[in-house]
Point group: C2
């Protein structure tokens, strides 16, 4: 149980974390800081937060935990705004989808408080946004990856771990660079591939005809191209080097398939497609 949680950013992720902790009886008071008065008012109405505050300095006073749940592009600014006002016992964590850049910002802006900062990434719901989509079950059975630094207090990691577990999440730890490589492959790359396919088709002269004949496979494949352009721009830029090497590796996979089609090598094509199908069946459960 913690006494006071401060959310910097009251959207889908911050709001769902608050609701989950509240439902688990793990928090007494929740303070929210946000830019949109309308959104904060919705958060108050939904009982996601108890108090809305516009000044981050005031909001973090006496907090046991501060959750930075703003887009990666606003992370540095948010850290700078709270750093001078953090109490000695306050633990800070974040929910950014990329971790090396957040760690760099933390080293730059959190100063002496760095050892009480636990970089984190809950793997859940990127397609909807805003506090109205928040729900306490969002993280149940989902992965949360923490990427603590050599300097990070063990007790701070322990607190953040326990709270995420209280939300029903499976918590694991990774090195920040490993984290960014894993999610570049299984999340950032497919998002870029889906955006690319839809943009490519939308630019054709007969786009309306093409979309008109797209079936359920296309809809599933491109579902993630319905995600926020701003969030994915930020992620691509924050994880730039890893993204570029993933794109290069994927291009060489495509080039290999192109060569097989060119040569008419049906046996090798069926083998590659079959390997993919088997791996998918082995590792992924269809919900």
């Amino acid at each position: 149980m913690i006494n006071k949680l401060t959310l910097i950013g009251v959207g889908l992720i911050g709001g769902s974390f608050a609701l989950a902790l509240r439902e688990a009886g793990l928090v007494r008071e929740i303070v929210g800081v946000g830019r949109s008065a309308e959104n904060l008012s919705a958060a108050l109405g939904m009982y996601v937060i108890d108090v809305s505050v516009t000044d981050p300095a005031q909001a973090v006073q006496g907090a046991d935990l501060v959750l930075l749940a703003v887009p990666v592009g606003q992370m540095g600014e948010s850290m700078a705004a709270i750093a001078p006002h953090l109490g000695a016992h306050t633990v800070v964590t974040d929910v950014g989808s990329t971790k090396q850049d957040v760690v760099t910002l933390a080293r730059q802006y959190l100063g002496a408080h760095l050892s009480r900062f636990v970089p984190g990434h809950p793997i859940a719901g990127a397609e909807k946004s805003g506090v109205k989509a928040a729900r306490g079950e969002l993280f149940r059975e989902r992965n949360v990856v923490l990427t603590p630094l050599a300097e990070t207090d063990a007790a701070a990691v322990e607190l953040v771990t326990r709270l995420w577990q209280g939300c029903g999440a499976k918590v694991s730890q990774m090195d920040p660079a490993d984290h960014d490589a894993v999610f570049a492959a299984v999340s950032h790359l497919p998002h870029v591939l889906a955006f690319a396919l839809v943009d490519y088709i939308a630019r054709q002269a007969n786009a309306e005809q093409l979309f008109g004949f797209a079936a359920s496979g296309f809809r599933d494949f491109t579902r993630i191209a319905g995600s926020s352009p701003e969030i994915w721009r930020d992620i691509c830029l924050a994880n730039r080097d890893t993204m570029l090497s993933q794109l290069v590796a994927y291009e060489s996979e495509l080039a290999k398939i192109k060569t097989l089609i060119e040569r008419g090598d049906g046996a090798a094509l069926a083998e590659l497609f079959g390997r993919a199908r088997d791996a998918r069946q082995k590792y992924l459960k269809n919900p």
Copy 2:
């Protein structure tokens, strides 16, 4: 109403066509030809077919309509087996996912019967297979594209159109080359992209870790990589030239995005991702 329907290939598509026509009261007798005794016996048990016959020559005797519902790779062989035995009034149609190659085979094997052949492609259910997955509603509200030739009898096109409409499908017509270009873009290309991503990840040393952190976006994106390797090998080879030009065009879209990430051009990235998201929202309904 037709008197006799002959299915060459009694799987998901052929079986569902039979069930739909039967439910609509549009056919009197259904004869099935297949390679697997077990599958034919299931088809008889499900009342998909009334009679199973092993000899195609015998099966097509007196048929009003012959549906070629075999993989594209067996199409030529099936045409050759039935051609000498077709009655003058019998109409032949197929369900192949590619049309230029089927038309070439029809010119080669159907001879004098070419004018009674109506090339067709129902856009439905590629992930499951076998007659046990067949259901009469499969084609309801789905697109069926017919690609008649200059030589095709208008009455034959009319019959095939009415029967698909009787299954609840929306029937349209296209030139075979246009058909293959449209489906290369919205179906064949995304299948190859999904197979490529899963194969790429499966080949990594930490594949198990990577799949372990894949979330719902990845699962949706790669759902079509669960499709039949043999069917998609056949489609890639049957539609080779169009597939290759689609892959080249997609590669240049990816190269463009790579350059934007390299340059750190956030504005252009957000614009491209936003254009994709908007196009998706405009054209596709999420079921």
